[in-house]
Amino acid sequence: MDLKKLRYAPTHEWAILEGDTCTVGITKYAVEQLTDVVYIELPDVGDNVFAGDSFGEIESVKAVSDLYSPVNGEIIAINEPLISDPSAITKDPYGKGWMIKIKAERGSNLNKMLSLEQYEKQIASDNH
């Protein structure tokens, strides 16, 4: 996965819009902050999600965090294997660790999200 093609949320989700399909996961930085991921809760296929609203949650030994959707739309796929074994999120956050695919509402875009460069800047400033 070319990280430059992805867009990023300040809440550490990544997203890519291909046609009207938006794929969402969380970044390597988020995974490192969470440490050991033990559990993930994802929506059902057919559920509606809304930009900025929580679509699920991820639990590590340290904390439970919400996962936020970048667009309005309908869930068309979830990464089912993660529910029984979430380790792919840690091992391959941009590949096998993807979480959901959303059929984005007509006219959706990811323009408000951060580029890789902007996101890396945010992380760097978070760490100071």
Partner: protein
């Protein structure tokens, strides 16, 4: 209550410490219109000897279960408490109502709660139990909040009218500002008719709540009800009587998803009307949704067995508005007593206790039905409680019978207008034949004159 010093010199020392010259100066910031401008009207102070006499006079006015033979039930029961329960719970290491704030520093308490949870799981046949909730009523209400977080898309909450009326009131309070729609299912024959449940179920039904044995003492058709509930994807919540599980099937065996109870029966005295002990257990798949504290077992860095709070990431002090609950006060001391009680009785002791309750309750029911005009209100199997129909007004009779030394039972008209002449009686293993015959004689005398007069 301990003796708290508050002499003139004490007050002066405190005022000096905070830099106020007088009490008047200390209270000066309170607006004058809010100040009481006359002396508080209380009697003159008593000396310690007088005070102790006064308090024991007041205590004598109360007729506790030790002063009159107790057939009261409805959630709080006069069961026997082995002395070992007081001996363990009274140890200074344990004697606090609070879960320690630095939990892992109190390994003894955590071990005791872990054992409590284990015993509750064994008792109920459920996979997971929490370290207790506030009381039976709030446990029922919390189970609905839990169901809602398991399945947020559904809204309908079906509750049998045979569930304790005060538990249902608590539930109503909790649900007031939620998206749920509470629906009470009538139980005119003293139990929830499975066909009525079938008609009430739809795809929007979040959960079904029943009590078994129910508030009238009757058994519910729990297996059938659970099946009907699950067919439409609802969660089956049961409020059970812990002692009844000595002989009745366990909630885990008949398909309960969440099992809750008032735990007073397990080694806790009938004091101050509660709150006593809220029990909650669930199936393993819901472990992340169960409110309250969970104690888990692990090993320390030296490989020794130890205990920790588990799944704390979902607790209110870490997750605030997204916590599983923010109102799930626990009852550490009563949970500890329950653990000591269950350990002392063991499965065999619990079974014997339950069969004694069952047999004695049926003996008393037989005796009371001999009285002209008295009959069992519901034709249903019952455990240790049952409901009788009386030929006349209940409240006056209760007062007169109490003068003869019997707490005869609960007047059901208090909660059910259609059961105005009905009395619910509970019989524990403590009741003797003599006591039960005594009550029957007193009741016979009560109605005798009246029947003749009519």
């Amino acid at each position: 209550m301990s003796y708290v010093l508050n002499t003139g010199p004490d007050q002066k020392a405190m005022l000096d410490k905070i830099g106020a010259r007088s009490l008047e100066e200390l209270f000066a910031f309170i607006p004058p219109e809010l100040r009481l401008k006359r002396p508080v009207q209380v009697p003159a102070a008593l000396c310690e000897i007088e005070l102790q006499q006064h308090m024991s006079e007041l205590a004598k006015v109360n007729r506790s279960a030790d002063d009159a033979v107790c057939f009261l039930g409805g959630g709080s029961y006069d069961h026997f408490i082995p002395a070992v329960v007081d001996a363990i719970a009274g140890r200074s290491e344990f004697y606090t109502a609070y879960t320690p704030y630095q939990a892992e520093a109190s390994q003894g308490s955590l071990q005791a709660f872990f054992e409590y949870q284990t015993l509750i799981c064994q008792l109920t046949g459920m996979d997971v139990a929490n370290a207790s909730l506030y009381d039976g009523g709030s446990a029922v209400a919390e189970s609905v909040l839990m169901a809602l977080s398991i399945n947020p898309k559904r809204t309908k909450v079906l509750v049998a009218e045979s569930v304790h009326p005060e538990y249902r009131q608590t539930l109503t309070t909790y649900q007031k500002n939620l998206s749920t729609q509470p629906v009470t299912l009538p139980t005119p024959d003293g139990f929830l008719d499975p066909d009525a449940l079938k008609k009430a179920m739809d795809d929007d039904t979040l959960c079904v709540i029943v009590q078994h044995p129910n508030f009238f003492g009757c058994l519910e058709d729990v297996e059938q009800l659970a099946k009907i509930c699950h067919e439409r994807g609802g969660l089956f919540i049961v409020s059970f009587d812990p002692i009844s599980l000595g002989i009745l099937k366990r909630p885990g065996q008949y398909g309960a998803d969440i099992a809750v109870a008032e735990g007073q029966s397990l080694g806790n005295p009938m004091v101050y009307g509660g709150p006593y002990l809220g029990i909650m257990a669930c199936r393993e798949e819901f472990v992340r949704k169960i409110p309250g504290r969970l104690v888990g077992q692990t090993t320390d860095r030296n490989g020794k067995r130890c205990w920790v709070l588990t799944l704390q990431t979902r607790e209110q002090h870490i997750r605030r508005e997204k916590a599983t609950s923010n109102i799930c006060t626990n009852q550490g001391l009563f949970a500890l007593r329950a653990a000591a009680y269950m350990a002392a009785l063991g499965p065999q002791g619990l079974k014997e206790t339950a069969s004694l309750c069952l047999r004695k309750a049926h003996y008393l029911a037989e005796q009371l039905q001999q009285i002209p005009g008295v009959s069992l209100r519901f034709r249903r199997p019952f455990f240790k409680e049952f409901t009788i129909q009386l030929p006349g007004g209940v409240p006056g009779m209760l007062t007169r019978i109490l003068q003869k030394g019997y707490h005869a039972g609960l007047h059901l008209g208090r909660w059910y207008p259609s059961l105005g002449n009905c009395l619910s009686l509970a019989v524990t293993e403590k009741r003797t034949r003599q006591e039960m015959d005594g009550l029957a004689t007193a009741l016979t005398a009560e109605w005798k004159g009246k029947i003749i007069a009519e």
